[in-house]
Each structure stands twice: as structure tokens, then as C-alpha cells.
Amino acid sequence: MHSFGYRANALLTFAVTALAFICAIASFSDKFSNQNPSAEIQILNINRFKKQSHGNDEVSLTLDIAADLQSLFTWNTKQIFVFVAAEYETPKNSLNQVSLWDAIIPVKENAKFRIQISNKYRFIDQGHNLRGKEFNLTLHWHVMPKTGKMFADKIVMSGYSLPDAYR
């Protein structure tokens, strides 16, 4: 501590180390928040259901998505990425996931929402397995904290099915 430069260096090192500890504690404090997210999705309409010229089934549908993810926001949350995926089983693959809609929620006030929207990304099967298919709609979310580890979770909603014939 005998010179200006030495003191400045020691202070900076100590300050950054202390900041790292503060950030670690901030990340740890997230564990004490109780999270009770809820979601509900309804299929309002099947707009289009057809077989593409090269043989893959394609569906267009209108969704009513209502969710309350406000409890996922803590003081250490930067944003939440949320997406709706259709999940179903085919003889070839035990799990198919098709993303239908997504959004980035940057503030807590927007985390409780209800929107009616047709699928943002195309719902296409790799094949022609969709007629009369039972499928799940799953709301996935990824929480991106300001410091610390990113984590993900989901709500699975089952009991949806597609019509037996193309239209």
C-alpha cells in the first residue's frame, strides 16, 4: 500500500471480488421466491389443415393463450422467453415438438397476458401423421436472470386433437 498505483490496484481487485460475491448472493436469493405460474390455452379455430404437395401435413390454427408468469419475476430477472409448442407422438419419433408461438417478456407488468393469435411459426409435421392426432400444447419458459444461471420450466396442457380429415 506504499504507492498510489498499488492502492488503486488493491482497491479495484477487492471491489470486483466483493461485487462477485454480491452477485452470487443475489442469484441465490432467487431461490426463496415462491413461483406459481399458470397458463391456459384454447384452440379457437383450425384455419387450415392440408397435406402439402410434397407430402407433409400442415396445420394453421388460432390460439387463445392466457398466462400469468408474474411470479417468475424477481429483482434479479432480466427477461423471460416464453414459447408454445405442440408436442405429439408418431410411430417414428416418441416426441415431436413444433414451436407455434413465442415472445420475450422484458417487464413484470407484461407477464400476465391473454392473446388470441394464429400460429406464428408454421405447424408442419415431418410426414402425414396429423389426422386425428392427439397432442399436447406446452407453454415453455426460460428465465434469464441478471446474474446467475438461466433456468427453464414448462406447463403441459393435454387433450387437444386435430380433425380426422383435411379441410
Binding site: R7, F14, W75
Partner: protein, 93 residues
Amino acid sequence: MDWQGQKLAEELMQILLLVFGGVAFIAGYATSSFRTMMLIYSGVVLFTTMITVPNWPFFNRHPLKWLDPILAEKYPKPEMTTVTSKKKNNRLY
């Protein structure tokens, strides 16, 4: 900065940063604002820099007391004696 001053500066720096770092965390947690925490902490770091990095007069209150130069005169340095040893080229058989 004297020896006592250096010790004081280091201790002051560590205590200020730790205590006010804790204050910043509690303030940020209480107001649910990460931004508040970071602003308070950067303020604390600047304040601590101002307090402990420059060579303020209060770090120089314990100057070193050197011996009086008189004493040195009492005990003069021993004179350098030039020893010139001539090495003969004696061969040992």
C-alpha cells in the same frame, strides 16, 4: 504515506467496501431493484477510492524517526584497507 498510514488505508478500504457492499445489497433487495444496488455500490467504490487512494495528510501522522546524524559521526566507518596480495606463480609438484 507512513507504515501506520498504509495499514490504516488497507483496513479502511476493506471495511468500507464490505460494509457498504452489504448495505447496497440490502437496499437493492428491499426495493427489488438490481439497478439501485449497482448504483449504490459504484458510488461506494468511488467514495472509497477518494478516501483511501490519495496520500491524505491523516495517513502521515506517524513519521519515521531516523537516528541523529551526530551518532554516525561518533562511530566512523572503518577505513577501507587495500590488501594487495601478490600471487606468485609457484608451481606445486
